[in-house]
């Protein structure tokens, strides 16, 4: 193997002759066409340079194209070629990149993209409604034929998004409880209002923090998994396979996920709130010396039990929203990696935003209850 090289000579008229040797090919791993092009640059610029390629052993498209780009994409009389190489050069010249069309500045483009965005949003919305309706239709169908209920998938989903989420929700809930309890204890202690720690922690955790924390965690954990799973099932045609067996995809894929998460979410809310309260009680015990026994005896007296009901209702709604949004985005995935990652991201972001929106709306509706 001989690497690509060149030699320069000057004749009596002061014209430069560049003679190329070796293999001008990517096959020779030590060839570096960027360097070669750079060192040939002065001769490319000089239009009177004579080029001699007769000594080139092997020329491939990469070598030829590099030379061509130096010559301004055309051959002229100063270039001496072997006949078998000329053909390659002519092929490459015919493949020259068409100049990019200079796009004129479009003053309406912001309006255009706004319109597109709105249409896109409307499309999402109508698809979402369609999914919701088909889910309700399937539930109505199940009332007529209860034996078709997908129990296995339902219980699998309860296990995957519920039972498997227990450690992480407990850990995060407990730690947030400790932090909140600690900060609040410091503030309340300054006013000598130590005992109110139970009121504040109890109300805020049971009514707000527990359900929202749970929803954010399962949106990140189970929602993304659902979207990715449905997406891959679409990519590998598994959903089509189900349909050809006469099995409704809504019944077998969407419904068990939505019902499973809706069923298990209130239980997770109880679990998360419990651990968060435990964390708060722990901090209050350390900072203010409030005993656990007093904390949990006093709690039902200052926090009305209806708050627990509200939080369970919230859990139901959040589970439903997270699972439905996850399925919606999963079913829109196109068979490529980019779409998979985009949809999974959108699924989590939309689910969390949806949860917070629903929470705000619910807070306004129930503003007179339990406080």
């Amino acid at each position: 193997m001989a690497a690509a090289s060149f030699r320069v000579a000057q004749d009596d008229q002061g014209q430069q002759h560049v003679q190329l040797f070796g293999q001008w090919s990517l096959r020779v791993p030590i060839n570096d066409f960027a360097k070669l092009k750079k060192s040939l640059q002065p001769f490319f610029v000089d239009t009177f340079t004579k080029w001699d390629l007769l000594e080139v052993d092997q020329l491939d498209a990469a070598g030829a194209s590099t030379l061509l780009s130096g010559w301004g994409n055309k051959l002229n009389g100063n270039i001496t070629l072997r006949p078998e190489h000329a053909e390659l050069f002519n092929t490459l010249i015919s493949l020259t990149k068409p100049p990019d069309k200079k796009s004129e500045r479009d003053w309406l483009s912001p309006l255009n993209s706004l319109g597109k965005g709105v249409l896109h949003l409307m499309h999402h919305f109508s698809e979402f409604i369609r999914l919701l309706v088909s889910l309700l239709v399937e539930i109505a169908y199940l009332f007529r034929r209860p034996q078709d209920f997908p129990w296995r998938e339902f219980s699998a989903n309860v296990y995957k998004s519920g039972v498997n989420a227990l450690p992480v929700t407990a850990l995060l809930g407990f730690m947030i409880g400790v932090v909140m309890g600690y900060l609040m204890s410091r503030q309340l202690h300054a006013f000598g209002a130590d005992v109110y720690i139970v009121n504040i922690l109890g109300l805020s955790i049971i009514r707000e923090l527990g359900p929202v924390l749970m929803a954010v965690l399962i949106a990140g954990r189970s929602g993304s998994a659902m979207t990715a799973q449905i997406g891959v099932m679409r990519v590998t045609d598994e959903i089509d396979a189900l349909t050809t067996m006469g099995i409704s995809r809504t019944l077998r894929i969407v419904l068990p996920k939505v019902l499973g998460l809706t069923f298990v979410a209130p239980l997770l809310v109880l679990w998360t709130s419990g651990w968060t309260l435990a964390g708060g009680a722990f901090a209050a015990n350390l900072e203010l010396g409030i005993s656990f026994r007093f904390f949990f005896d006093y709690l039902p007296l200052v926090v009305q039990p209806v708050n627990l009901t509200l939080s369970l209702i919230k859990g139901l709604m959040f589970g439903f929203v997270v699972a439905l949004v996850a399925c919606h985005f999963g079913l829109r995935i196109k068979p490529n990696t980019e779409s998979l990652s985009n949809s999974t991201t959108s699924s989590v972001v939309t689910a969390i935003s949806g949860v917070i929106l629903v929470n705000a709306w619910f807070a306004i509706l129930t503003r007179g209850i339990g406080v």
Partner: protein, 268 residues
């Protein structure tokens, strides 16, 4: 009893070193309890179209993955272009990897990139060419595999299975490799398309001076493309010879196997 004699008869004539593009020495592979290769030896010679055949699950694809460096055998050496890829430093290893191109069974195109960008990808990674040169090179490769310039903007999800294979081939050829490795090159193509694809590979082999190594289950592909055939059976290579010489080997698997390609060879 059934195969001892033929294993020893395996023709391992001496080939000059510069003609061996890939040398597999005493390779053993096992997955847990399952022994796939046991002291397997094979030399692939330069300039041939070699087919690797054997029954399903006999370790053909595993051997192919050893050769292209994706996996490492439990013991033994795989020398590619005379060098062991697993003990090289990184830059040299990368250079070595640029000397062969692989077409995977499903094409393995980057699904987020267009046809053009898929073929341009290895060229851009070299960082030796500017965009106008890359455009010419990509279009040249696409023309080689008989694709239209207007296909360049399409995404892998938008093109047919036959086109995916062609784009995969164009990408494998982008860096002017010496060795082309094909895993099931005609799987999933209709007879007409697979026939065209075989012709394309043959023609490219001739014009670019390639060495081709491929794995196949398809008898038509084997009969019309392979010059040499390597039969992997019972953890060993039991035959390594030109296709027609299989007739002279006395081994139950090969006798069976040759019967199914004899009629196809006669038709050629």
């Amino acid at each position: 009893m059934m195969s001892e004699s033929s294993i020893q008869n395996t023709p391992q004539e001496n080939i000059p070193d510069q003609d061996v593009i890939c040398d597999i020495q005493n390779v053993c592979t096992e997955f847990g309890e399952n022994i796939v290769h046991h002291n397997l030896n094979l030399k692939v010679r330069r300039g041939d179209i070699t087919a690797l055949v054997g029954r399903s699950g006999c370790g053909k694809t595993t051997l192919l993955r050893h050769i292209i460096g994706l996996t490492k055998p439990k013991s033994g050496n795989v020398l590619l272009f005379g060098e062991n890829m697993h003990i090289m430093e990184r830059v040299a290893q990368r250079r070595l990897m640029n000397r062969f191109g692989v077409l995977f069974q499903q094409g393995a195109l980057f699904s987020a990139l267009s046809v053009f960008d898929n073929v341009a990808f290895p060229l851009r990674e070299l960082k030796q060419f500017d965009e106008s040169v890359i455009y010419q090179l990509v279009m040249h490769k696409l023309a080689l595999v008989e694709l239209e310039p207007r296909d360049a903007g399409l995404l892998p999800a938008e093109i047919s299975g036959g086109m995916v294979k062609r784009v995969g081939l164009a990408r494998a050829l982008a860096l002017e490799p010496e060795l082309l490795v094909l895993d099931e090159p005609t799987a999933g193509l209709d007879p007409d398309r697979s026939h065209n694809f075989i012709d394309l590979v043959k023609q490219l082999k001739k014009s670019l001076g390639l060495t081709v190594l491929f794995v196949t289950h398809d008898m038509d592909t084997l009969a019309s493309l392979a010059e040499r055939v390597v039969v992997l059976e019972d953890k060993h290579i039991i035959a390594d010879c030109p296709l027609r010489e299989l007739a002279g080997i006395d081994h139950p698997f090969i006798i069976n196997f040759f019967q199914s390609i004899r009629s196809r060879l006669e038709r050629l």
